[in-house]
C-alpha cells in the first residue's frame, strides 16, 4: 500500500486517502469543435501506459480534496515525486537535462 506525499498537506498519507485518476498533464483540446473524430478519440481514450516512469494524477480524496501529480515507476511502484497541479516534474526535467549532458539513463526505467 502506497505512502503518498500530498504536496498540499505536505506530508505522507496512506493510499486509502487517495484516488488514482489516470494519466497526468492531459489537456482537453482548446477547440473541441475543430478537433477531428480521431483527435477527439485520442483525447478521450488513448493514454500513456509505460512500463517504468509514469506521470499520474491523484486526488487526496479523504484529505484536502486537491488533485496533484505523481511521478511513479509502474514496475517498482516507487514514487519519485509528487507536485501540485499546474507544475511540471522537476525529476523528469533533471533527467532530461542529465541526458542532454550525456549522463547515463537512470536505471529506474524508461521515460514515457
Amino acid at each position: 500500500m502506497f505512502y503518498i506525499h500530498c504536496p498540499y498537506c505536505n506530508e505522507r498519507r496512506s493510499e486509502e486517502e487517495f484516488h488514482a485518476k489516470g494519466q497526468a498533464h492531459l489537456m482537453r483540446p482548446a477547440n473541441p469543435e475543430e478537433a477531428s473524430d480521431r483527435e477527439w478519440g485520442d483525447y478521450l481514450f488513448f493514454r500513456d501506459n509505460p512500463r517504468g516512469l509514469h506521470q499520474e494524477m491523484w486526488v487526496h480524496a479523504a484529505g484536502c480534496r486537491k488533485f496533484f501529480n505523481i511521478l511513479r515507476n509502474t514496475v517498482s511502484y516507487e514514487i519519485l515525486e509528487t507536485y501540485p497541479m499546474g507544475e511540471q516534474s522537476s525529476v523528469l526535467a533533471e533527467m532530461t537535462a542529465g541526458r542532454e549532458r550525456g549522463e547515463p539513463r537512470r536505471a529506474a526505467g524508461a521515460v514515457a
Binding site: 498537506c9 506530508e11 486509502e16 479523504a62 484529505g63 484536502c64
Partner: protein, 210 residues
Amino acid sequence: MSKVEVFQQQPSGAVAAESPFHFSRQRNPLAPAKGEAGVIMAERPFLTHLILRGTPEVLLGGVRNVTGLTLPQTPCSMNSKEDKSLQWLAPDEWLLILPPGSEFSTEKALRGELGDGSYAIVNVSGGQTVLELSGPNAREVLMKSTSCDLHPRTFPEGRGVSTVFAKTGAIIRRPDAQRWELVIRRSFADYLYRWLLSAGAEYGITTQER
C-alpha cells in the same frame, strides 16, 4: 438581492432539535463501562460549523477581526481559543467551529468584513457534529480506525487532519493533551457510533453527557 444568500436557519422559538447522535443514543444506549472505562465519548452537539474558502490573503484579516482567531496556514494545524477553533483543511479551505447559534451572525459579520472578494462561506452546522474522546485508551480506539500516525511525536496538540476513519471519513483533532475530537458527518454518525462501541469494547467505553 444579495449576491450570496445568507440565511438565518435557526428557529427563534422553542423547537426540538435532534443532534446527529440522537438516534444512536436512543437505539443503542451506552451502559456505564464495567470497572474503569478506557474510553469516554461525549458529543458536543449543535455547535456552529462554518466552512471558509478563499486565499489566506483575502480571509486573514477579516477572520481575525470577527473571530479573534488567526487563520492557520500550516497544513493540518488549527488555532483555538476557548470554545472557538479554526482548522486548516486545504490551502483554500478552513473549518471554523464556534459555540452554538452563532452561524448567522458570524457569517454576516465575516461577509461584512470581507466585502466583495473571492471567497465563500458555507454553513454546515446541521451536517456535522463533534465527538470528543478521552480516557487512557482513546488513542488505541482511534488507531483501530485511521491510518494516520497519532503518536504524540507526529500528532502534537493543535493538529487536525481529514482522513479515512473506519470505512468513511472524519476529521481528527487534538485540541489538548487529554482529548481527541472527531468531526463527523451526520449521515455516518450512527455507523461510527456502532464502530466506536465495537472498537472500544475491549477497553470499556462509556459516554458522558454534557
